[in-house]
């Protein structure tokens, strides 16, 4: 992989990210969403975040598999549920994952 490819990818990612983040605010202008959609909007966050969690913890390309990282995330989830801070949660996830990998 050449350095030129790296910079091409970076430029491409910057442009598409800008366009995607700008699309909604620009296209919709200041118009209000119809009332019935505000309920949908409020539920977007749980739907998207849950999908991000399971895909990043379980998916490896197009395969699903349970690994040390899955266990680490699960332990962090229990700690976070019981009131641990975000920082403690992510540190625990990394620690448990690293520990399991060191053992295996």
């Amino acid at each position: 992989m050449s350095t030129a490819t790296v910079w091409l990818v970076i430029a491409g990612c910057a442009v598409v990210t800008f366009a995607i983040k700008a699309a909604g605010p620009v296209a919709l202008g200041g118009r209000r969403l119809p009332d019935r959609f505000t309920g949908v909007v409020a539920l977007l966050a749980p739907a998207l975040l849950a999908a991000l969690v399971v895909t990043s913890a379980l998916a490896d390309g197009e395969d699903l598999h349970v690994g040390a990282d899955t266990a680490g995330v699960a332990v962090a989830g229990v700690a976070l549920w019981r009131g641990a801070s975000v920082l403690a949660g992510v540190a625990l996830a990394a620690g448990v994952t690293a520990g399991l990998r060191a053992l295996s």
Partner: protein, 265 residues
Amino acid sequence: MTSGCPVPGRRCISWADGCRQWSAWLREASRGSLGALAATHPSDGATRRESLRAGVRAGVPFALAGVLVSLSFGVLAREAGFPVVAAIVMSAIVFAGSAQFAAVAILASGGTAGAAVAAAALMNSRFLPMGVALAPSLPGGPLARALQGQTVVDASWAMAARRDGTFDRWLLFGATAPQYLTWLAGTAIGAFAGDALGDPRDLGLDAIYPAFFLALLLTELRDGRARAVAAAGAALALALVPVAPAGVPVLAASLAAFWGLRGRA
């Protein structure tokens, strides 16, 4: 000379016309933007600062966790063959974790530049519905709106959402600012010190990203409906992983939110 204007060569409006224009302007001003500004400006400025501060406070824990996430990105980017500067520049101008990880992973596994950018676009596609949701809460012309839209990152967007479906944009800006700074700092540390740290998998750095999103998710599970939608979104995404390209499963999960239409229409 017409209408007895005192200044030679100028066209004067009559006193009566002037009065009519003045009163029309005053009416306009008191009813319209000027009146609104005068009525709300002082308290508006105070709540704006308050929101900004509250945003920064709310963003700091995520910013601290983000150091570890971006550190792992810096290490992975170097491993994939990125120069140190390229890794840092990517974090500075892309500033979208999942897209950056996806693009680097595809390049590292021998994919083309086009495939890497397409994967990043799909990963970021979740920002489309987020931007649509945020849009009514942003003021200004197209450029100003486009720039304000750039401050959307998952944690800030979720925290700035009010229960009535509107967004506190100053809280959004405040929450994103520390996350941007630490995202850069972490990337730099990872890119410079990556070789000394060893294999990121041995350190469990790949578990940090999902744990970070899990922390965000837990703050969203306020009621039964949110929990049901989260479960449905997760199931939908997992079902699509084996058959759809990376990014599509997460975007498709947003369909679960249409549950919100039930009982409202």
